[in-house]
Amino acid sequence: MDNTEYNNSIHRIGRIWTGVGLIILLSVPAAVCVYFGVLPSGTAILKGLLSVGIIYLPAGIIEAVTYSPILGPGATYLGFITGNLSNLRIPCTMNALEIGKVQSGTPEGDILSTISVATSSLISNIVLGIGVIALIPLTPIITSAILRPGFGNVLPALFGALGYMYISKNVKLAIAPAIFVSAFYLLVPFGIAKAASDLFVPVAAIITILAGRFLFKKTNWLNKKGSEV
């Protein structure tokens, strides 16, 4: 198979399996609705899209654009179905390219990336499967009243950790949204602040983007730090 033939074949296979994957992914909530005999709440979906989709839908495209040159086509199609890209598949691919002493973007690099992401996907799938079997007997403990405060605080725990992860690398970017959001939450009447908080993800994102644009254009700081962002 020459390069063009290989490229065509990997894109054909990738598209077929991505199509199948999309149908299977969507069939899970569809099956839940059919089995329980309910329709999802339109309001909940719309609000979910407004607060989460508004970030993750464009981010998904940007990730595909950013990661595909590193992964190559085969690993990109597969990795975007099996997930855990930045924390697992990308480092795994870098490791594979290092072992093979090949560059990403070459046919050999694409082949080793695909082998690496496929193996990694299989292993994490098996580990997760075994873990779920082990978890079944523990479910009553996990859902017990004693542990409820723990699970009731999953988001503060998550965003404390993520906060350090993201903000420690870009403190200046976080200043403007932190001042704006905390001032709004503490100074505006509570009822209004609580109601408006649902819509604050895009607001905080826009404020941070404006701050980022300002720092990028007007100061040297981000220009120097750009490669680390």
């Binding site: 993750y56 495209i61 503060p156 965003f159």
Partner: protein
């Protein structure tokens, strides 16, 4: 088995049906991974690539994936109390990651009328379905982009890669930082709500409004410590576990505070 008629939804969320869905996704991931693995391996052989190198990549990738996969498993534990085991398993087996899944679940649950601190026992069939829909669709942009545009994009890549994409990276970082800051500041709202009527807040959530702030700080500090430790050569393995370990420490702090009743 009409699990969903029970007052507590945890039986339905952990029903046999949900596990069957999970097994279906498990098999699909195995099949698609093997399909790509076999295709790439055969192509490598046809191109005369060294078989030993390809086998080494397989062995190394398998070993390399064990620790981060265990970390994903720890992340699953943090989701089970909110969504039950099968849906958490399904979602972590496919595109997405624990922080995205929790965020999507939280947004859909709160939009459906649940309190911020909802658990699996608070769900009903409709909110469970809404959460499953939001978690699924909000992450599909990547695969949809690949389906329609990846071939064309890869074809033009040489031109695109020559452009300066620094602003693109800053844009993405800004979006994520904005989101993270917003959710960190949400703990201030809990504190404020509790200060207005602490008894009502406690009755609704089972803990005081100061707990989320403390949990966030414990988690942030744990992440800082993990980050510092993982920079040491012998503790590099800790890096993949930093997020779930910090979360679990934060959540443990919430349980201990609630048990102690000190706050």
């Amino acid at each position: 088995m009409q699990y969903f008629l029970a007052a507590d939804f945890s039986g339905s969320a952990n029903s046999l049906f949900m596990y069957i869905l999970g097994i279906g996704i498990f098999l699909f991931i195995c099949i698609i991974s093997l399909r790509f693995l076999i295709h790439a391996y055969r192509e490598g052989l046809a191109r005369g690539m060294d078989k030993k190198t390809m086998n080494r990549v397989i062995r190394s990738s398998a070993l390399f994936s064990l620790v981060p996969s265990a970390a994903i498993l720890v992340g699953l534990v943090t989701m089970v109390g909110k969504l039950g085991a099968p849906l958490s398993w399904i979602r972590l087996s496919v595109i997405g990651a624990v922080h995205y899944e929790l965020l999507a679940a939280q947004s859909a649950g709160v939009a459906a009328g649940l309190k911020d601190t909802f658990g699996v026992v608070d769900l009903n069939a409709s909110t469970f379905a809404s959460i499953a829909v939001v978690m699924t669709i909000c992450i599909l942009a990547g695969p949809i982009f690949n389906f329609f545009f990846l071939k064309r994009y890869m074809g033009r890549l040489s031109v695109v890669s020559q452009k300066d994409n620094r602003w693109g990276r800053i844009l993405v970082s800004s979006m994520f930082i904005g989101m993270v800051v917003k959710f960190m500041c949400d703990t201030l709202l809990s504190m404020r709500e509790s200060s207005i009527d602490s008894t009502a807040y406690f009755a609704k959530n089972g803990f005081s409004g100061y707990v989320p702030v403390l949990v966030m700080l414990v988690s942030l500090l744990s992440m800082f410590v993990c980050d510092r430790l993982s920079k040491k050569e012998k503790l590099k393995w800790l890096d993949g576990f930093s997020l779930p370990v910090s979360m679990i420490l934060g959540m443990t702090a919430a349980v201990l505070i609630a048990q102690g009743g000190t706050v």
